[in-house]
Symmetry: C2
Amino acid sequence: MPAGEAVVPVALDRASPIPLYFQLAEQLAAAIAGGQAQPGDPFENEVAMSERLGLSRPTVRRAIHHLVDQGLLVRRQGRGTFVTSRRVHRRVSKGSLYEDLSIQGRSPSTKVLTRANERYPKAAAALDLDPDAELLALRRLRFADGEPLAIMQNWLPPRFNSITREQLEQRGLYSMLRDHGVGSVVAHQSISARLPTAEESELLEISGRLPVIALSRTAFEPGGAPVEHAEHVYRSDGYAIDLVLEEN
Amino acid sequence: MPAGEAVVPVALDRASPIPLYFQLAEQLAAAIAGGQAQPGDPFENEVAMSERLGLSRPTVRRAIHHLVDQGLLVRRQGRGTFVTSRRVHRRVSKGSLYEDLSIQGRSPSTKVLTRANERYPKAAAALDLDPDAELLALRRLRFADGEPLAIMQNWLPPRFNSITREQLEQRGLYSMLRDHGVGSVVAHQSISARLPTAEESELLEISGRLPVIALSRTAFEPGGAPVEHAEHVYRSDGYAIDLVLEEN
DNA sequence: AAGTGGTCTAGACCACGTC
DNA sequence: ACGTGGTCTAGACCACTTA
């Protein structure tokens, strides 16, 4: 048994409605994030852990598997389980979809330009609606430290009509969608580049020949129902869209 | 029992080294891909399936969970399991990292411009090597239907020095890495836009004021070892980088 | 009330890598 | 030979949805 083996103290609450495997996974993740288990350290093996915690081995396996999915742990058959190098963690990166801009250390803010019902056949088609259907159209300007950064246009099906300007300013679009029962989504996103239109140049305060990043996205609920169509335009100077991807 | 319930014929080989849950998952996925189970169709419930196939319920659960991860199935507690709308499938999209350009219907080809050992402190730093370390540097030009599309520059640690020009032309970089024992990777990728340099304009045959998409990427093995640093430049007219993302 | 997925147990045997 | 993770079983009980 190596001296550096990470044995994480865990407190389980069997009365809690939170599943045991999830309680365990969260506490192990916290130990890794907190540095109690360093990258490269061997992790306690699952048989020992199940005995120590009074859990069955499949339950412990499930918790560990959860962390492997997030990139926090690596398992090597015949060798053991190890803490991953920090930069392989995919845990945070899932959020990259809606905070995909690198505004690190800058204070972000959003201004709602318009909130209206309008027709836009292209978005309606993406949302599986009649081309003439009225959509909820949102147009927002995104700032970092007071400088304009992006124009965000979103079109939503009529079922989201109850979303107000004030709610958007305060809480963001995807927080609102959650209130409407939208849990997880899968989005198809397309990124390109072009020169800005006159209107875009004005809103983004672009003077010279700076190109913009154009992002088009349609998001779907797991069942396949379209949730949102977005067309965003970003300034390209000093900003980039960061992604964490995996390939198997 | 609804009439449209999808009951997929499955043939399992218990003598095969391929795990049962994986055999089952593959055959169910094939049935969905082949249209035997249509989007929205209710799927056979797991208890019935385990009895029909002579498998334990956890094994069947594991196969189904595998397909849920790929976005092929959705499960609703108390209701059942359903085939997902086609566009929510994440199954294929994993490959988006290395074929992330939409060259649909166009025949791609690659020309190796240079293959050399050189120093490039920025890439060396990304690869956790000494700034003065010699790296394997690859410079390739990517075509679609004979038109130049992208300049691809990659830097790799010395352990990949055995990769030759000929292998690259024929089989692509990531196929080579696989031969060197690199299975899955996690990549941090940054996408921006700018105007091309004179050299880039020439190589990509850009005449006017067309911006380019600049992509920077560093890929890591699960254990955290850096595998590759890439800096790619794409023409932005008519081309876009397509991604499938998820948010939970 | 009935049927579905969600969780959990307590074992078993196998495959792989290291000593 | 030993220890590791990988697979699999045959049950059990709970939570949620629909009728």
